[in-house]
Symmetry: C2
Subunit: 282 residues, 2 copies
């Protein structure tokens, strides 16, 4: 397998939901700063949302305040709209592509295999920043969570997964993480296959996924990592559906703004280590 | 420091709350089975509860169904009652001492330094089983949690702790663990001092703390362990109160019924390993 991080040259930003859109704009400001030089156009995609008419004006106002030259508010409600040539063109000319929250299954159901999704992937490869919050973050990996008990998801089959948008591999993303106590969802996934890093993002926190798999936490909240690669044992294969999963040995990290993680090396990066790596790769 | 587990010869049973008291009685049955041979008297202490008149009859019925020769329902509402000679005598003659849920601060405030607590400690040393659920479990260690934000306790100072009942050392116990998403409480404590094992017990789950620090999970739910001893770094000393805590490297386990853990060796025990150790120590 080649590195899952080598193909994209733009950064991804996954946000845990409920990011500040009206006062400090700390996270949205970071997103906007990552736009390629000379391109300050923003496309906001509200496909996941059931209330796009309420969500889109908020982001229009926020990105305009940050200095966007234009903000394209894209509802993209169905697969016809996901194939619309004018919509594709607006994405192709944007330096920031932002995917709102809502229901990640709506996002994949509408965008999966569409010209709009192909355009997003191409923009990412060409150096644009692709950011998503809540459902828009959860849907980023090749495989995503779309449902799962919150109280105790550490039961065989309690987490429902399907193909995601395929913007990044090697990890699984969960949002609203601390607020909804979602540790067990990533633990169950880690027991089912220990290869993929679990990334749990709390509200008003985000993680920049730099090329080459360097994660950088941003915002006032936490980014929790659950690393199952050294899983020593689990009973999961012996269980019937619904029975409680045992886990021996997962590793837990909590990142705050300025801290980082090297996904392939499975190495935590304190601020000066992260800084050195990011400077080097520039 | 001598082993924190060597002094007591009776087992402790910490239960995560909401254990079944009316149908299968799986956990209460395990508790009752641990009573020393020939002593089937049970003392139930409802000091933590604000509704002892509702709670005590439930346990009376449950332990009677399990075969208790007598069940002593002890409200123990204040420090006068915690010094009452008749109450102390009932505890001294019981093979099972059960501490109900409620508010653990009420438990320590009323029982701390009292003749009743001294009698409980003595009974434990003499081989009786001491069990507690919810607040009655959380209060068992030398230091206990009595309050703390649930959504994001991973902020400096978010968890409030004080002296517990001192029935066990070397660990900290949290109850209703998965139901209330309490991972961050044990993570903050582990960052503040990595020595003590975090034990998070979910509802209708329990953990038997055998002499010599062998844990055994019981019941249909999960027992989560957060082991901070290999903590590699944290920013906690540099933070102001309320700021988010970073954590590099804690270890996470999820035990289900029949699985165990050696606290001093920090070793997970799958069922056949636990069985061998428990047989050996008999």
């Amino acid at each position: 397998m080649t590195s899952p991080f080598s193909s994209a040259s733009g950064p991804l930003v996954a946000i845990g939901g409920a990011e500040d859109r009206t006062s400090e704009l700390e996270i949205l400001n970071k997103v906007f700063d990552l736009a390629p030089a000379g391109n300050q156009e923003v496309a906001v995609i509200a496909t996941a949302s059931s209330i796009p008419d309420q969500v889109l004006p908020d982001y229009d106002a926020a990105f305009s305040r940050l200095g966007a030259s234009r903000v394209h508010s894209l509802g993209i409600r169905d697969r016809q709209e996901a194939a619309d040539a004018d919509t594709v063109r607006l994405i192709e000319q944007s330096g920031v592509i932002f995917i709102t929250g809502g229901d990640q299954l709506r996002l994949t159901n509408v965008l999966g295999g569409s010209p709009v999704l192909n355009a997003i992937r191409q923009r990412l490869q060409d150096g644009a920043v692709v950011a998503g919050t809540s459902a828009g973050a959860a849907a980023m990996p090749g495989t995503m969570i779309y449902n799962g008990a919150s109280a105790d998801a550490l039961r065989k089959g309690a987490v429902n997964m399907t193909f995601g948008l395929g913007l990044v591999d090697g990890l699984v993303i969960d949002s609203h993480f601390l607020e909804r106590g979602r540790f067990t969802r990533l633990m169950e996934i880690g027991a089912s296959n220990p290869e993929h890093l679990g990334v749990g993002i709390s509200e008003d926190a985000g993680v920049i996924i730099h090329p080459h798999g360097i994660l950088e936490a941003i915002g006032p909240g936490h980014v929790i990592l659950i690393d199952s690669r050294d899983l020593a044992s689990s009973n999961i294969t012996d269980l019937s559906m619904g029975e409680p999963v045992a886990i021996e040995n997962m590793i837990l990290h909590a990142m705050v703004s300025g801290h980082g993680f090297d996904v392939e090396a499975r190495r935590y990066l304190v601020p000066h280590e992260l800084g050195a790596i990011l400077t080097e790769s520039r």
